[in-house]
């Protein structure tokens, strides 16, 4: 069977169980599904966060995620993957991003999921704006996210 690839950028929330089922339904060749969901935190350090607003560069975000989804597909023996990234205003406790990877065995699924998330953090054109009691401010990028993404580059 061919590998299934789903990439979506949307304002609406997603249902993780439904997305896993879409990836595995009718197939008997999948032995492992890894699911990562990124969730909006209600605090950042000592600060209380009221909400996040995610801005993105639509055409580039889709192209960049697709490029890396294909890289994951060719690097690991995956039977399918899904990447769903939300944009717009997101409140604490709500989902931001979902990465699902399916494979015959767990190792490929774990590694591919981590690769995709590290990549998304450092290179996918999304920007978070944080609302707190002091007003709204753009979230600063972390150097450790760049380092996490760089470790997947083959030397």
């Amino acid at each position: 069977m061919t590998a299934a690839m789903t990439i979506r950028i949307q304002e609406a929330d997603f249902d993780i169980a439904q997305e896993i089922s879409a990836l595995t339904k009718g197939r008997t060749d999948i032995g492992a599904v890894v699911s990562f969901s990124g969730i909006c935190r209600g605090t950042e350090g000592s600060e209380t966060i009221a909400a996040l607003t995610l801005e993105h560069y639509p055409e580039m975000a889709e192209a960049e995620i697709a490029r890396h989804a294909e890289a994951a597909m060719s690097r690991w023996p995956l039977t399918g993957l899904s990447v769903i990234h939300r944009v717009g205003r997101i409140k604490p406790g709500e989902n931001i991003v979902l990465v699902l990877t399916a494979s015959q065995h767990r190792q490929a699924a774990f590694q591919a999921a981590e690769f995709l998330m590290d990549y998304l953090k450092a290179n996918a054109p999304f920007w978070k704006r944080e609302e707190s009691a002091d007003g709204a401010s753009w979230v600063e990028a972390h150097h450790h996210d760049d380092a996490a993404a760089a470790r997947w580059t083959k030397s």
Binding site: E59, M117, K121, A124, P125, K128, V139, E140, A141
Partner: protein, 83 residues
């Protein structure tokens, strides 16, 4: 060429996109940042620290020394914070 701005670069400049025609002496992404920074106070503010600005040509990441000839769309934005 079309130029797009995102996040605080967009906010500081006060627009999301525009069409610009830089002179031939503007060869690279870095040159373009320098030229845009000279267009007024809002641009100077947006590009005051060029090394933190990220750029993309036609939806792909590029480095500051990339030549811009032939580009249809160039985007400028801060380091990404998705995921």
């Amino acid at each position: 060429m079309k130029v797009k701005y995102f996040a605080w670069v967009r906010e500081r400049i006060g627009k999301a996109e525009e069409t610009v025609e830089p002179p031939p002496s503007v060869r690279t992404v870095d040159d373009l940042i320098g030229w845009l920074a000279g267009r007024g106070e809002t641009y100077a503010h947006a590009f005051e620290t060029p090394r933190v600005i990220r750029a993309a040509i036609d939806h792909a990441h590029v480095k500051p020394d990339t030549v811009i000839a032939g580009a249809r769309e160039i985007a400028f934005f801060p380091p990404m914070t998705g995921g």
